[in-house]
């Protein structure tokens, strides 16, 4: 709601509120900063004023982009408004719920280890099959909790595997008696140099690229669960989701509890359950985020290998990704089915550029992931 305020302070506070309504995270501290900034620059032209507020209120390049527009809009409306009522923005309704049902089946299927392959629904490229099953109730909370716990367990054991060993270090952490004695033997036992040890640093970095397109719908819920659980235990992980476009969701998955993380994800326009442009998405990844990759990075791709882009583009991006990273692991949920062969054009193009191709259809197969990390 925009009211016309007679003085600058009130206007700025109202503007902060307006930004907050548009998803900016602004607290009292930021408001105070903005007010002080405004007083300092004694705004006589709008440009200076906008800049001062922009520097104090934005926190990322995306916000900088939105800011200019919102600023213009707000102050323009303010001028027009003169206390007239302006409709509040329609509250954005989360559209996550409509997607949950088919995922629930996948969850159940996955949770119980998929013993009965004939009867269970499997992911297909055609949209109609999944669409027809979309208005069941929500996932029962107890099942979700089960799965979350199980996943956390698996990912923790994966993470622990990596850093139980100790390594030598120059920084004071833990005294290493054995090495200290050894090093100083040649000085006749006078302890001049002290050696330290510390838990072996987890050098490995994970980059997860998850396919959330329509054909992956059945697995999506499990996927996010898995990504979320993983994010909690691996310190060095970056997560992206893609369907037609690539989105970095690392920050969204950092939420303290899972429902909040879900909400944040749902609130973003990630093209959830859209078509697949894998080649383009991976190309965008390696171009824009290639810096994330180094020889200690393991790239995990979670996808069923259905792609509408040219296979050459996929192959080329994968080749570039692999060149920059230590290992590329492709987890395909379909690969767990008996008789599955990677026959799609995309899969065929991708295979030469993948180090490990494995299934990811149940908890057991996720456990097996440890072997590749």
């Amino acid at each position: 709601m925009i009211h016309r305020h007679t003085n600058l302070t009130a206007n700025i506070v109202a503007f902060c509120r307006y930004l907050r309504a548009h998803g900016f995270r602004i607290g009292p501290e930021e408001e105070a900063t903005a007010l002080r900034a405004a007083v300092l620059v004694t705004p006589n032209d709008r440009g200076t004023f906008a800049l001062a507020l922009q520097v104090s209120l934005t926190r990322s390049v995306q916000e900088v982009g939105q800011f200019t527009e919102l600023f213009e809009k707000y102050w323009r409306e303010l001028e027009n408004a003169l206390d007239s009522k302006i409709k509040e923005d329609e509250s954005k309704k989360s559209n996550y719920q409509k997607n949950t049902q088919p995922s629930f089946d996948a969850l159940k299927w996955w949770l119980h280890g998929n013993k009965n392959t004939q009867e269970t629904e499997t992911a297909t490229y055609s949209a109609t099959e999944t669409l027809s099953r979309q208005d069941f109730s929500l996932i029962p909370a107890d099942q979700l909790a089960d799965l979350e716990r199980l996943l956390r367990e698996v990912s923790q054991s994966l993470a622990r595997r990596v850093n139980r060993r100790r390594e030598k270090t120059l920084h004071a952490r833990e005294f290493d008696l054995r090495n200290t004695l050894r090093r100083n033997l040649r000085r006749g036992g006078e302890l001049v140099e002290i050696a330290y040890k510390r838990p072996r640093r987890q050098r490995m970095r994970l980059v997860v690229l998850a396919d959330v397109s329509k054909s992956m719908d059945l697995y999506s819920a499990f996927l996010i669960q898995f990504l979320y659980a993983f994010q909690r235990v691996f310190r060095r992980i970056e997560t992206f989701v893609f369907s037609t476009d690539l989105h970095r969701v690392t920050a969204d998955l950092k939420e303290q509890n899972f429902p909040q993380a879900l909400q944040k994800l749902a609130a973003r326009e990630t093209g959830w359950s859209g078509g697949t442009r894998m080649g383009g998405s991976l190309d965008a990844f390696v171009t824009d985020y290639g810096r994330l990759l180094n020889r200690e990075t393991i790239v995990v791709i979670l996808s069923d290998g259905w792609d509408t882009d040219q296979p050459e583009l996929l192959a080329d991006s994968l080749r570039r990704i692999r060149q920059k990273s230590r290992k590329v692991i492709w987890l395909n949920p379909l690969a767990g089915q008996p008789g599955y062969e990677p026959r799609t054009a995309a899969m065929q193009a991708a295979l030469p550029h993948v180090d490990v191709f494995a299934s990811a259809h149940n908890v057991e197969s996720m456990r097996a992931l440890g072997k590749w990390l």
Binding site: T33, A37, G47, L51, V192
Partner: protein
């Protein structure tokens, strides 16, 4: 000091600024808040800190972040070897009976303390510019530790006690978006995003930084760079590359930019063979676009 004065100050140090940068620097100084600068590599993020230090006539203390950087490297370390030697010398000179306390105080004194950038910054005799470079390369633990220092401006050393900042340093934090920075750090800072410069700004920078370059050559170089950045490259060249290239071409006494020369000197601006190939393949197109623009502009 007001905004135009800051602009003049930055300009006088040879930094071609734009309103957003000036405003950010001004507010960061006035509000005594750290300034977080993000942007692609090679657009002059670090340069801002250097220029600020020069403009304010103070020292620049730089903390270069890297993976595995920890508190002891950023704060202080005891010079253990020196302490040990000192003890040995005291021992050989005679008995230390009855003065153990004094001796202990001595070896945990300033003399044996190796100050690292953060401690240096808060104990400096004059408020310095503290540059925390590429903070996203450091681990998350370090980031939280940094937050603590940046909010309290005091450091506790168990053997000595708490050291309070004599002057609050002017803090510039830069990031390359290797890792997403924590919300807490972002909220502590003012924010500035610097993108690749537009044509006019880049031209001004080249003219300022490379004295020997002719107007026409500079214009052509900048136009070419603007076009080149439109391509999808692995490593998009920044301002540093533009300046290198201009310097090289000026040293070779060119006063304009023929196509063959571009091809021959491409290695100065592109550091990846795939990029070089991409650029070579679309060189004619780039060159043409450059020409069209120059005809339009050259009225």
């Amino acid at each position: 000091m007001n905004v135009p004065q800051i602009a003049t100050l930055l300009q006088s140090q040879g930094y071609i600024t734009e309103p957003a940068v000036t405003m950010a620097v001004y507010l960061s100084m006035q509000l005594q808040k750290p300034l977080l600068i993000e942007g692609p590599a090679g657009v002059g993020k670090t340069e801002i800190a250097k220029v600020m230090a020069r403009a304010l006539d103070t020292d620049l203390i730089r903390l270069q972040c890297y993976e595995g950087l920890d508190a002891s490297h950023a704060l202080y370390e005891w010079n253990y070897q020196r302490q040990l030697l000192h003890l040995k010398m005291v021992e050989t000179q005679g008995s230390v009976n009855g003065q153990t306390d004094a001796l202990e105080e001595e070896i945990f004194g300033e003399k044996f303390l190796m100050k690292r950038p953060l401690l240096q910054a808060i104990t400096h005799h004059k408020a310095p510019v503290l540059l925390i470079d590429e903070v996203d390369r450091a681990d998350e633990e370090f980031e939280s530790f940094l937050l603590e220092v940046l909010s309290d401006w005091q450091i506790t050393i168990p053997e000595i006690g708490t050291i309070r900042a004599t002057h609050i340093p002017q803090v510039i934090v830069t990031g390359n978006r290797v890792r997403e920075l924590s919300e807490a750090l972002r909220r502590r800072c003012l924010y500035l995003w610097i993108d690749y410069p537009d044509y006019e700004k880049e031209l001004a920078i080249v003219r300022g930084k490379v004295p020997g370059v002719s107007q026409k050559l500079a214009e052509q170089i900048c136009r070419f760079m603007q076009q080149l950045r439109q391509l999808r490259l692995e490593k998009t060249p920044g301002i540093a590359e533009t300046i290198d290239w201009a310097t090289a071409l000026a040293a070779l006494h060119f006063d304009h930019l023929p196509k063959e020369i571009i091809e021959q000197t491409l290695g100065v601006i592109l550091k990846d063979w795939k990029d070089t190939r991409t650029a070579q393949l679309s060189l004619s197109e780039l060159y043409e676009k450059m020409g069209v623009v120059s005809k339009l502009d050259g009225v």
